[in-house]
């Protein structure tokens, strides 16, 4: 496959769709995808009650379309919530590999971002040594409003994606 032509150009050449219609289709696809991000229900450390409270009744995550789901194959994003120890880092990598494209990673809390209060410990790793992270949400633990703001940043990032699933940078 030629690396210089993008997916858009290839579809355009093959099916002869005019560009304005393709832009509309892309806009609708981006709007639909950004309002339905399903993360894996994967909580590691003490930030997990904040995750539960965000999906609770006062700060509702589901109005943004974010539903924590247990089956790995049908999820879009993995939210690494809490401390990642050395033994758990292998499992995070397995889960990331098992998800289908397009997929995103959000690191919630101070611990996966930069080891948090356990910065000089022999048994913790950062999340971006194991999986490529898209959005970092700091805090120990972060407020539910901060988690929602982080997810909205991820939504903007999805909306700005020129081609679906292609990771830039």
């Amino acid at each position: 496959m030629d690396e210089d032509t993008t997916i858009k150009e290839r579809i355009f050449e093959r099916y002869h769709i005019p560009m304005p219609i393709y832009n509309v289709i892309e806009y609708i696809a981006g709007w639909a995808r950004k309002y339905s991000i399903w993360p894996i229900h994967f909580v590691t450390g003490c930030c997990s009650p904040e995750f539960m409270q965000v999906s609770g009744a006062r700060f509702d995550m589901e109005r943004l379309g974010i539903l924590p789901f247990a089956s790995v194959r049908q999820c879009d994003c993995i939210m690494v919530v809490g401390v990642v120890s050395r033994k758990m880092a292998q499992r995070v990598k397995y889960l990331y590999d098992q998800m289908g494209e397009p997929k995103y990673v959000v690191s919630v809390g101070a611990c996966p971002t930069g080891k948090g209060p356990f910065y000089d410990s022999y048994a913790t790793v950062r999340a971006d040594e194991v999986v490529p992270v898209d959005v970092y949400i700091p805090g120990c633990p972060p407020r539910p409003e901060a988690i929602i703001q982080g997810m909205m940043l991820l939504q903007e990032k999805i909306k700005k994606e020129v081609e679906i699933g292609v990771r830039r940078g």
Binding site: G45, G56, R58, S121, T124
Partner: protein
């Protein structure tokens, strides 16, 4: 991992570390139909090395990692650490401290039980209706604990530029994003006892960035040591 106990009838299932109900433990179940033969526990997924990092912390800094051993019920764990230090240093606490500690620990305990009830009912089927009810009840307790710790909500859009404190007054130079934010600061300050007499000065608007700056002057009647507790 080859094991001589696994026969063709018995299957080893891993109730793995990524599971909403098992927390972070991995339990290997040797199962034959519905009959369980043996359970093996595989732990260590949340091992953070807290005992080792406490060697490099002072006594007061050590509360932070110790409290993070438990997710929800943090006051009871912190209390056991603090009581051990007090016994070693032979420090006596006043009665009022014991009462306040009891109240906080009870609130945290109820917090933890509500969390557990909701998750247990959720694990019998996957519909989290009862979990949402217990979440609402937990919010009441969390609001109480938030008032105690003096946490100001982050949607105030306020930044602190300068702070000067002497025996009689506290002077702050504050920068806010909007006029409503300045009003809300006044309301929030009025809720705390010593800061109820705060006077907010004239608001001037920075022409370059559009942010609003003003002085807040708080006069204290009797200065107390550590009144922000």
């Amino acid at each position: 991992m080859s094991d001589p106990e696994i026969t063709p009838d018995v299957m080893r299932v891993s109730w793995g570390p990524q599971h909403p109900m098992s927390g972070q433990t991995r339990i290997l179940i040797d199962i034959d139909g519905e009959k369980v033969h043996k359970l093996t526990a595989d732990l260590g997924f949340t091992h953070r090395g807290i005992e080792k990092i406490l060697e490099n912390r002072t006594f007061l800094q050590g509360i932070i990692p110790v409290e993070r051993m438990v997710m929800v019920d943090t006051a009871n764990v912190g209390l056991s650490y603090v009581l051990a230090i007090e016994e070693a240093l032979e420090v006596e606490t006043p009665d009022r401290a014991d009462w306040i500690r009891s109240m906080i620990c009870e609130l945290c305990r109820i917090n933890s039980h509500l969390y557990a009830f909701g998750l247990q009912v959720e694990s019998t089927g996957y519909f989290p209706a009862v979990f949402l009810w217990t979440t609402i009840d937990r919010e009441i307790i969390l609001d109480l604990l938030e008032e105690l710790s003096g946490l100001v909500p982050p949607d105030l859009d306020i930044g602190l530029e300068e702070l000067s404190i002497d025996r009689q007054t506290v002077r702050m130079r504050v920068q806010a994003k909007s006029f409503q934010a300045a009003d809300r600061l006044g309301l929030q300050l009025a809720k705390f006892g010593p800061f109820a007499s705060a006077r907010i000065g004239a608001i001037e608007k920075d022409p370059k960035t559009g942010s609003k700056r003003f002085n807040v002057t708080i006069s204290l009647k009797e200065p107390e040591a550590g009144d922000r507790g």
